[in-house]
């Protein structure tokens, strides 16, 4: 798989996404100025503060030259992953339903959170179920990162959704969609990740942390899987997102 990671002025986590995707595939940076994706197999819209996010997170990046190509790529079924600011950009571009509002507490929060994989059958989460032969460190049983609070996650009972320990860091991460839209999304498997009980700090409706489009090929989430790919930095649970994409792109998912 060749994975293109977009870079807007003000992107911050593009190199992290490049390194994370690079662990399972070839990955390269694609400038916002380009109008062509040069044949990549998947696109990552990374985190950061594109154009400073002074207007509304993602609102300007959505009009960057490269986005026309991304929208066309997504319409043709190409895999598009939006992380944090990238999720905001994809919502602004109407590739994903809903919107992201300022956190309930009105503050930027950087915190390790546990996520329930509500839909483990998407091209972005298929490798996250423990029984699916997960890559090293991914999925259930991975060590909790150290934290000042010292809370550790006990063994999970069987038959519960896989959970991932991944950091989230944002000030505009409160997912919102009208009730009817949410119901539709839930019915069609578009709600892919929810914050585990007591883990949401942003006030997202229904604890939604990550959603896909109806076709399932576009996925956005506020937490940062690219910052959870190595036990040395706290957790490797996020690696399964990239591994899922690789399998889907190569048709061995």
């Amino acid at each position: 798989m060749r994975c293109g990671v977009l870079r807007f002025p003000g992107s911050c986590d593009e190199n992290d996404a490049l390194l994370a995707a690079g662990r399972v595939a070839d990955a390269e940076i694609v400038s916002y100025r380009e109008r062509d994706l040069h044949g990549v197999d998947a696109v990552i819209v990374p985190g950061g503060f594109s154009y400073g996010d002074y207007l509304r997170a993602g609102a300007i990046a959505r009009f960057a030259p490269i986005m026309e190509a991304v929208i066309a790529f997504a319409r043709e079924g190409g895999l598009v992953l939006g992380i944090c600011n990238g999720f905001q950009v994809l919502c602004e571009a109407r590739l994903l339903p809903g919107a992201l509002l300022p956190n309930a507490g009105r503050r930027f929060v950087c915190r390790q959170v546990r996520l329930d994989v509500v839909n483990p059958h998407t091209p972005f989460t298929a490798a996250c179920a423990p029984e699916a032969g997960s890559p090293p460190g991914a999925g259930a049983g991975a060590r909790e990162p150290e934290s000042a609070s010292g809370a550790t996650l006990g063994a999970k009972p069987p038959h519960t959704p896989p959970t991932l320990s991944i950091p989230a860091k944002h000030s505009w991460g409160r997912f919102y969609a009208p009730e009817e839209t949410l119901r539709e999304m839930a019915g069609s498997g578009q709600i892919v990740l929810r914050y585990a009980e007591g883990q949401s700090f942003n006030g997202s409706v229904g604890g939604v942390a990550g959603v896909s489009n109806r076709a399932g090929n576009v996925f956005g989430l506020m937490p940062h899987p690219e910052h959870a790919v190595d036990e040395l930095t706290g957790s490797a649970d996020g690696l399964c997102i990239f591994e899922s994409m690789r399998r889907a792109a190569q048709g061995d998912g």
Binding site: D16, F49, C110, E146, A148, G150, D230, L232
Partner: protein
């Protein structure tokens, strides 16, 4: 020079110059300076830019060391970190702007220190901050805290540089004069290291980044060099406004210019704007500069020449470029969508000359009107330095803090009160407002270990089994202890940083410092400053750690008096393998707990003494002993080395140094961080009084946990006492003989409840 009415002495005084300084300027120039020149000189001769009261003392600090690559004098110092890489780092204050407008003051403090780092060619990889506010029961202290923390996060988070650590203290003497010090680290290939010395007459001076506006006019002299009146709101127009988006583009653009070797020297614009940057570049290079103001991209059309020369608009850099490289330089600027313009030339005149409407032809400016013509030496080197008139205070300088702890409090109540005291409570509610993860290097996040740990190279995976070297950073200073004993208190701050590094397995490479003090013209403050610098020098020599650079912030006082003397120390070290970086939390039930190092705790100037409302001791009067406990450097060094080697061996489970709140608080912190209890008996021999054993403070002590035999190996090098066992869900401490009552038994949940009190302050 065409100038209708020359400014006079009264104008010079209004701009902050002394009469003697103005007369000296007139004498050296052979005439009175005009308006533009006086504005430039008043800033260059300000305390903030010229270190008039501290320069002589700073010269006594050791600046040489085995790992030193670049010492004081450049935008940031640098040390060798192996594999052809250097780490550049520096701490700088933004105290006065933050007291006026905490959000922008702190944000631009971060922006400024980041520019210092990439000006020397290093990519910023981490920010830390050191903050001081008044007691948080005052709404103003909470407003300043909230604003400063938000401002640091706003800038650091938006530019993609992780904020990986810091410290904050709340004390009455900071109520009117808060401190906001920001430290940054960067990494660069040694070959990319860049100087700010301008070179080569005929080369061009290029200004790039944000446009120049009226923000921050006179910031260096108005704000940073005089005591603030209460309600400094009237000075708000002098506070700079930060734009992290512009800062991020400027950083990427600067690093690309250096990578492509397009510039000959690089300097950021900070205090005193273009005036200071141009003067410093010319002074370091032994050259002159000519600037044509018409070529400076402006934010506002009708700016006066002096305003353009002293504007402190943020996110600007100045570089020297060979004429044939100009198109390439401007193309890189354009690619990052930032302004760039050739505004002047390097000359061999030894003067900074400011022109308007000149023609740029073959590396020279011709014609135009001459607005200012000042020898570089007058701007930079001729500034008088002032000796201090130090006098040890005979009376207390600081009002006594009221007791907040009942006189008959039990040891358990004392421990809970200490854990809940703002100086000790968990920093998590503050740290989690910062992105500590971006750049994929952070191996120990804030709160996980005594020092933050970064992998030098971003982690890539690939099953590499070779050791991954890392950097460890700590920033520290307990101003109350420095107030009690400026010499020993400063030594303690240095030892504390070294101890923090040892706890993650790192060896110090260099340190930076920010000397925050009151008005040095007052003899007692001068004494504090002199004693602190003496302590800093002695500690650095004992540790063989050079001072690579730093900053001085004086006149931190308000109507209620001076701040505590606060020499903030930032220390950077290296560890051979981040996979073995130490943690502070107890990790495994059954592990042995050991008290390591020469530790003789005393209640003097401790956090408990503060809660009990005990006055700070007066600095010593011979033949009385000094107030703070004595520690021989060789003993301290032996403990630090032993702990470092134990952590590096990978055989022990946790390491934590004993600081505020003493042994009992350190034990509670280890339990809370690890989510597991412990049962401990403190040996009577460490202090006579059981309460001092529990809560007394002194440098030199560490708490380690791990297998008993691994710990026992430390005993060859430093005192080691086995004091207990990890396990359970309570912390039980026996500190006296049977029946003494000096006993603590508290559930982890009770400890956690007290430790989490800061969250409530932030609303």
């Amino acid at each position: 020079m065409a100038e209708a009415a020359l400014p006079g002495l009264a104008d010079a005084l209004a701009l902050g110059l002394r009469e003697s300084e103005y007369r000296l300027i007139c004498e050296r120039l052979g005439r009175a300076p005009n308006t533009v020149e006086l504005a430039m000189l008043s800033l260059m001769w300000s305390e903030h830019c010229a270190y008039k009261h501290s320069k002589r003392l700073l010269k006594t600090l050791p600046t040489e060391g085995e790992h030193l690559v670049m010492g004081p004098g450049e935008n940031a110092g640098a040390v060798d970190i192996g594999d052809g890489l250097i780490c550049a780092f520096k701490v700088e204050s933004h105290n006065h702007p933050s007291a006026v407008e905490p959000f922008q003051g702190a944000a631009t403090g971060v922006g400024g220190i980041l520019r210092d780092i990439f000006a020397v060619g290093a990519r910023p990889v981490a920010v830390l901050d050191s903050l001081r506010f008044g007691e948080p029961d005052a709404p103003r202290a909470r407003y300043l805290l909230d604003g400063a923390v938000s401002g640091i996060g706003h800038y650091g988070n938006s530019v993609g540089v992780p904020t990986i650590g810091g410290e904050v203290y709340f004390e009455g003497p900071y109520a009117d004069s808060c401190l906001v010090n920001a430290m940054a680290l960067g990494i660069a290939p040694r070959s990319r290291l860049m100087s700010s010395a301008a070179a080569g007459p005929g080369n061009l001076l290029v200004l790039f980044g944000a446009t120049t506006g009226r923000d921050g006019i006179g910031g260096a002299s108005v704000l940073a060099s005089a005591e603030l009146d209460l309600g400094g709101e009237g000075k708000r127009p002098s506070v700079q406004v930060g734009d992290p988006f512009e800062g991020k583009k400027l950083m990427e653009c600067s690093l690309q210019l250096l990578d492509e070797r397009l510039v000959l020297s690089l300097q950021d614009l900070g205090a005193a704007g273009l005036t200071s940057s141009a003067s410093e570049m010319a002074s370091k290079g032994g050259v002159g500069l000519e600037i044509d103001l018409v070529r400076v991209p402006l934010r506002e059309a009708d700016m006066e020449p002096f305003e353009i020369m002293v504007s402190e608009s943020q996110e600007r850099m100045l570089c020297v470029v060979a004429p044939e490289r100009l198109p390439a330089v401007l193309a890189v600027c354009e690619s990052w969508e930032i302004e760039g313009a050739a505004i002047g030339v390097v000359t061999d005149s030894g003067h900074v000359r400011v022109l308007r409407g000149a023609t740029l032809r073959e590396g020279t400016l011709e014609g135009g009107s001459l607005l200012a013509d000042l020898p570089v030496g007058l701007l930079v080197d001729d500034v008088p330095t002032y000796g201090l008139d130090p006098q040890r205070p005979q009376r207390p300088l600081y009002p006594d803090a009221p007791a907040t702890l009942a006189a008959d409090a039990s040891p358990e109540q004392m421990l809970l009160a200490l854990l809940a005291s703002p100086n000790i409570a968990s920093r998590e509610p503050l740290f989690e407002q910062y992105d500590s993860l971006v750049q994929s290097r952070t191996v120990r996040r804030p709160g996980a270990a005594d020092a933050a740990v970064l992998a030098i190279e971003p982690l890539r995976g690939g099953g590499a089994t070779a050791p991954l070297p890392g950097l460890a950073v700590s920033i520290d200073c307990n101003g109350r202890r420095v107030a009690a004993d400026p010499y020993r208190g400063t030594i303690e701050a240095v030892l504390e940083c070294a101890a923090n590094l040892a706890c993650v397995g790192a060896e110090p490479l260099g340190l930076t410092n920010n000397l925050n003090f009151g008005n040095p013209e007052k003899p007692q403050i001068a004494w504090q400053l002199e004693e602190a610098v003496r302590g800093l020098g002695d500690a650095c020599r004992a540790l063989s750690v050079p001072v690579v650079g730093g900053n001085v912030s004086l006149y931190n006082e308000g109507p209620a008096g001076p701040i505590y003397p606060t020499p903030v120390i930032g220390m950077v070290g290296r560890l051979p393998d981040v996979a073995r970086a130490g943690r502070l939390g107890f990790a495994a039930s059954g592990d042995t707990v050991a008290l390591v190092g020469p530790f003789s705790p005393s209640p003097v100037a401790s956090e408990l003494a503060k809660l009990q409302g005990r006055p700070l001791p007066l600095p010593h009067l011979p033949p009385h002993p000094r107030p703070l406990p004595h520690l021989d450097f060789p003993d301290a060094m032996a403990a630090i080395r032993a702990v470092r080697e134990a952590v590096r061996s990978g055989e022990i489970s946790s390491a934590h140094d004993i600081a505020e709140g003493g042994l009992a608080v350190a034990l509670a912190e280890c339990c809370l961080a690890g989510g597991v209890g412990a049962t401990v008996a403190i040996p009577a021999e460490i202090a006579e009084d059981p309460l001092a054993r529990l809560f007394g403070e002194a440098p030199g002590g560490f708490l380690l946990s791990g297998p008993a035999d691994a710990l026992q190996r430390l005993a060859e090098h430093t005192p080691l006492r086995t004091i207990g066992t990890v396990g359970g869900a309570t912390l039980a401490i026996e500190a006296g003989g049977a029946g003494s009552g000096a006993r603590i038994e508290l559930a982890l949940s009770e400890l956690a409840g007290a430790h989490g009190m800061l969250a409530g302050l932030l609303g």
